[in-house]
Chain length 383, copies 2
């Protein structure tokens, strides 16, 4: 039995925004009711001062750590970071993680039933933004009776949500840890997402998004995932993992089967992904990431994000992350410093590309643990 | 009228390898007859000492420069480099350019009729290598009665052919100019090509390669081309060209149409490409590029390529080329120097990524012109 399986968690659901009190989206459209799937670990202290919201990346879910049953073969996606005695220590902190709005792992998204039609939304689902995801998360945090989060933590597209939280609700966020993220997508990042979307929409099974209950656009979604995977790894990590190694020990096969190990790996990743993910959600979430621009998230209509913020920041970038290169984190750090905020910044040496934030790293874990301990100590001594 | 249209060229065809004298491929398979489409510019001198073979990149063709008619709206793909008074000066040199074996612009490839069945080959076409392309080009050069080329010049996958020429037939190549190329694909380059191939093969119109005379796998091929385009540009050039600029001057559209300029550009490139290129050829040519490894091309079975070569080299890389980064050209230069060869190497500062070798560059043009002049002068004084 996996020792992690002693740390049992349960997927819970929170529904809000029943008409006529729908969630008003950034596009101006209204959406409701809205359900968020979420999980919690640890115990909320009576003063509710130990809550940490973990936000997931593009294709993640609420299952951040622990197991659903003692027989569960696989714990959550950030098991190495979250749990008893870990950097985000569930013996000390109360950890919350929700599947994003627009997702497909229990939260309302394009594969959910539209209560008006009784059929899945498909592409009639409104386009949601990173800010809309955060608005929905805030409704959950309010529902849990928490008035201020000790920290909001997330990497990649999760890091964008961290930034949107800090800009939108500065008074609710004591500390923030945006990892391997960017204040806005470059043209190149938009380009990769667009090609991935085109791959899905080119699949005839996509049928304009109306494929539920029928054959799914699995081939297109697999190609989309493969494109993503290339951007998550670094040139160097691919060299170390695969190089030009052939799948068989023999010579070149002279046909179109996966001959190189790297081809086989990508095909496997693509095929595995379609079992768990909805193609329309992939379209919506990549679009939300492309639309995100921190400049649009000035709190309370202020021209400058973070102007009246007192949030403490730990910003972390990874040397070989070419999807969101370190200079994009540095631009963020400069913005935060210009606003006089308490900012720690670290660029971690890593060969593992964008994915590094999800992989074991003593450095990362020590940084996160120490930063959270300091914040928690400062808060406790304030009381 | 375009002034380039005064420089008229004609597509010609050379056929060889009629059974039982088929071309024997590296895979061991036999292919014949084989036709190469080719074009020439300038005049071959009586001693046949002024011939330069230009080899094209992945999706190029024999139409390197000049126009087919005086009304032609578009001259050849390297018009800025090849022509009267240009770096590859057709008043001095006799320039030959052939469509590669496996291509779809007049040379034998998967869209050609298989004389045995009377139908297009499709994926029954044997897998050809960079070395096979060079073997076919050598047959053309022999046919033209040229015993030694003054130079072989090409960028990207064309550069691989330059290297294969030098390794296979060192006595036939007085000078070589491999531009923006690599001695072998990294795992990352293979990965991009593999995803592009998967996009084509995922298109139901591909039909296992047997789509001729029916609907073509245009959507898959367009996605494949879009992936390629991202790798041909640099992050910086995309920033300068597109940034986060929107297509309409209005705000975000909140739907899946191409909202950002970069999305619109990629869709346009993808759609334009399918009009001129065959999807199966794309599969074969990317596979040939992935298979290429200079170490396999030792001349005459020698363990070390270039061991007995006396070819002079001009190797050029571009700073922002992340598909074939400068370090790969440096590795090539080191190999050449270890073999005591005459090598000039230049890394040109450019923001334009891998595509830089096709774009106007005073530096590149001056380098190529001076290098060729020196070689031509040395050869002339030898006589």
């Amino acid at each position: 039995m996996n020792p992690a399986c002693l740390n049992l968690v349960e997927k819970q659901f929170f529904t809000f925004g029943e008409p006529p009190h729908e969630l008003v989206l950034e596009s101006g459209e209204r959406l409701g009711p809205v359900t968020l799937a979420y999980e919690t670990l640890g115990t909320l202290t009576p003063d509710k001062g130990n809550a940490i919201l973990v936000v997931h990346a593009l294709t993640g879910d609420s299952h951040v750590a622990g197991c659903y049953t003692t027989e569960d073969a696989r714990p959550g996606w950030w098991e190495i970071m979250v749990g008893p005695g870990k950097a985000i220590d569930t013996e000390r902190y109360f950890v919350i993680c929700a599947n994003v709005l627009g997702g497909c792992m229990g939260s309302t998204g394009p594969s959910s039933l539209n209560p008006v039609t009784g059929k899945p939304y498909g592409v009639s689902f409104p386009l949601v933004t990173i800010g809309d995801m955060v608005t929905a998360q805030k409704a959950l945090i309010d529902h849990l009776g928490i008035s201020r989060l000790l920290a909001v933590v997330g990497g990649s597209v999760g890091g964008m949500q961290v930034l949107a939280w800090c800009a939108r609700y500065p008074e609710m966020v004591r500390a923030a840890i945006p990892l391997a993220t960017t204040p806005r997508h470059s043209a190149q990042s938009i380009a990769f997402n667009e090609v991935a979307r085109q791959a899905i929409m080119a699949d005839p099974h996509w049928q304009g998004g109306d494929y539920y209950g029928q054959a799914k656009p699995d081939l297109g979604l697999a190609v989309a995932r493969m494109i993503g995977h290339i951007t998550y790894l670094s040139n160097e990590s691919m060299r170390q993992k695969f190089g030009r190694q052939l799948k068989s020990r023999d010579a070149l096969s002279f046909h179109f089967d996966a001959g190189f190990e790297v081809e086989s790996y990508l095909r496997y990743q693509g095929n595995k992904f379609v079992e768990r993910f909805d193609a329309n959600s992939f379209l919506y979430l990549t679009k939300a990431a492309d639309y995100f621009d921190l400049d649009d998230y000035a709190a309370g209509g202020l021209a400058v994000p973070f102007k009246d913020s007192r949030t403490s920041f730990l910003v972390v970038a990874f040397t070989s992350d070419w999807l969101y290169p370190t200079e994009q984190s540095r631009a963020l750090v400069q913005l935060l410093k210009r606003n006089g905020l308490d900012v720690s910044f670290c660029e971690i040496q890593s060969d593992w590309g964008h994915d590094a934030f999800l992989l074991p790293s003593e450095r990362l874990h020590a940084l996160v643990a120490a930063f959270l301990s300091r914040i928690f100590r400062e808060e406790s001594s304030d009381v």
